[in-house]
Amino acid sequence: MSLLEIKNLHANVNSNEILKGIDLTVNPGEVHSIMGPNGSGKSTLAQVLARRESYDVTDGSITFAGKDLLEMKAEDAACEGLFMAFQYPVEIPGISNAYFLRAALNAIRKYRGEDEMDAMDFLPLLKEKMRLLEMDERFLNRPVNEGFSGGEKKRNEIVQMAVLEPKLAVLDETDSGLDIDALKIVAKGVNAMRNKNRSMILVTHYQRLLDYIVPDFVHVLVNGRIVKSGGPELALELEQKGYSWTESELAGARR
């Protein structure tokens, strides 16, 4: 059974139609990459999957782990195992990274009928994941993302992913703004999470990330539609030829 099944998805933002009929199937263990120019709807797709209310789904369906995703609130989708690494992670003043992440983990465990994890057990788990992402332990007690550089925020997203162990991780431009060293660390963290039961969708603007996290499938999103799909070599072709190549291909196909 597929993990994620998107059929004919249409979505609006502020009454403008951004997604114009997306079809996508993601099976367990697969890593898909979605690439596209600015305004193509990449982030919109990620936000719709994460169930953000301000994004209006006007048509289509999304099935996640056999359940209707569109019927779920954001926190329920999260508890069902959907994780999004934000493109622009926000600061949450007054709540430490450690406190927040334990609250999140326990919310998910509670939903699943499991026992909560106490601080004594949680802390070593968190520290281990922070080491993997080369985050300084000092960050444990700092308010969420406060004073973090862009790179640190992105790495923090992956630390969270490592702790929450989702079924499906949607990484929204996790590579944007990172220098090569930070990129390698993030890739290390993400690759360590790859297994046959976990799937990932990498939304990316730049091809370079895919040298380090090699996807199984690459989809090109232009103007709210997936215009081309292929393997990792498609990403290279896209990088060389630019997005207009796919638009002309699409136009050609329509004729």
Binding site: E75, A78, P93, L101, A104, A107
Partner: protein, 485 residues
């Protein structure tokens, strides 16, 4: 009744031959404020001569201000002009209408009590339900009274103190907030109804937290409360005022005065949780809370600490302050102030450093939601002789939604070069972004708001006595219900 009071009664009865006599027997004085009313109030309360004279002096000063239309207008709050002659300045302690059971209580009120986690028997008390003999609140109060008597602590109503401890009252009343201090202090000094009086003798650590809840002869929250707390050398007292349950009052204007005096090595901790009726969602009605609170840290190593959680009142104007006279004295101010819907608050604190090596800490957290307007006005004044003074001020504003406002007016006056000042201010917003971030990690919207607010107010909540802190947290959650998203 004492002979003095008899004499006054005779005098006033004579005066009132000309039309006022009937009103003495009634529960209320007619509206208006003049010298006769002030006298009548004093008579009704059976006060000694010195008290009446004190009131009259204050009244005359207030009247002179009122004539000049000198009501303060500099605060960042807007309200329609108050007609002081239309208010009634005295009403006898009401007998609360007794209900037979909680079933007779307005369900909305009960709902709030439940959300606040107020235990059932307390709910009954608050709602005015007849209390049965099994309930031990009376015995609790009696044990309380006994313990205090053992320690030598005086804790009674202000009216009682005027009668039973006139020397103490004479010595300290008005020494921290003189009637000339400001318009509302003058008004209060003329017509104050009642309040608390606390005296803790030398070296005594008050054995329990004093709470208005347990004040013997507890009456309705007075319109013009007057409170005086004195901690003698080496004494310690922690006083709690107010409660989280919403209080309604048909009297709209509340102008209280609180004076604290701490002698050598003494500490006074004054905590307030205020949730007076804030007006409806359209901003109609609601209480005006104009309070003057000041503590004099007179002695060496003395300490005065104000902690408050203010969520109610339509308009709040208060600046609990500390005058740091004694060497090494310490002043603290921890505050969470919330304005929602159409509430307005212009609040803050004044720390006046006079003695050597004094220290003050100000942590102010303002939360604005709805169309609320929250202004922080803080003054730190370091006088010339205040060698080695230190101040740390942290003033944070949290905005929920984009129709509310937060404003900060810090005043810093330093006349001594050895002073060390640290000021931090920040403004953040709980936007849909933060809530969604938490939701995407599995946390529900309500819990998310609660987490953020508590994180924001943490530094203040930890200064409150524990039970108050728990109630205060719940109070904030309830007050902010529905304000996000």
């Amino acid at each position: 009744m004492s002979s003095t009071v008899n004499q006054i009664n005779d005098l006033t009865q004579q005066e009132y031959k000309w039309g006022f006599i009937t009103s003495i027997d009634e529960d209320r004085l007619p509206p208006g404020l003049n010298e006769e009313i002030v006298r009548a109030i004093s008579i009704k309360k059976g006060e000694p001569e010195f008290m009446l004279e004190w009131r009259l002096k204050a009244y005359r000063y207030w009247a002179s201000l009122e004539q000049k239309h000198a009501e303060p207008t500099w605060a960042n709050v807007k309200y329609p002009p108050i007609d002081y002659q239309a208010l009634s300045y005295y009403s006898a302690p009401k007998q609360k209408k007794e209900l037979k059971s909680l079933d007779e209580v307005d369900p909305e009120i009960l709902d709030t009590y439940t959300k606040l986690g107020i235990p059932l028997h307390e709910q009954k008390l608050l709602a005015g339900v007849a209390v049965d003999a099994v309930f031990d609140s009376v015995s609790v109060a009696t044990t309380f009274k006994a313990k205090l008597a053992e320690a030598g602590v005086i804790f009674c109503s202000f009216s009682e103190a005027v009668k039973n401890h006139p020397d103490l009252v004479k010595k300290y009343l008005g020494s921290v907030v003189p009637h000339t201090d400001n318009f509302f202090a003058a008004l209060n000094s003329a017509v104050f109804s009642d309040g608390s009086f606390v005296y803790v003798p030398k070296g005594v650590r008050c054995p329990m937290e004093l709470s208005t809840y347990f004040r013997i002869n507890a009456q309705n929250t007075g319109q013009f409360e007057r409170t005086l707390i004195i901690a003698d050398e080496g004494a310690y007292v922690s006083y709690l005022e107010g409660c989280t349950a919403p209080i309604r009052d048909e009297n709209q204007l509340h102008a209280a005065v609180v004076e604290l005096i701490a002698h050598d090595n003494a500490t006074i901790k004054y905590s307030t949780v205020q949730n007076w009726y804030p007006g409806d969602k359209e901003g109609k009605g609601g209480i005006y809370n104009f309070v003057t609170k000041r503590g004099a840290a007179r002695g060496k190593n003395s300490k005065i600490s104000w902690t408050q959680v203010e969520t109610g009142s339509a308009i709040t104007w208060k600046y609990p302050s500390c005058i740091l006279q004694g060497e090494n004295s310490v002043g603290e101010f921890y505050s969470v102030a919330l304005t929602n819907n159409y509430q307005q608050a212009d609040t803050g604190t004044k720390m006046i450093h006079i003695g050597k090596n004094t220290k003050s800490t100000v942590v102010s957290k303002g939360i604005s939601a709805g169309h609320g307007q929250n202004t922080y006005r803080g003054m730190v004044k370091i006088l010339k002789g205040a060698q080695g003074a230190r101040n740390y001020t942290q003033c944070d504003s949290l905005l929920i939604g984009d129709k509310c406002g937060a404003h900060t007016f810090p005043y810093i006056e330093v006349k001594n070069a050895s002073a060390r000042m640290e000021h931090e201010a920040s403004t953040s917003k709980i936007g849909e972004d933060q809530i969604f971030y938490l939701q995407q990690r599995g946390i529900s919207k309500e819990e998310a708001v609660s987490m953020i607010i508590n994180g924001f107010c943490k530094a203040v909540f930890k200064e409150l006595p524990m039970e108050f802190a728990v109630e205060a947290q719940k109070l904030l959650s309830i007050s902010l219900e529905g304000s996000v998203g």
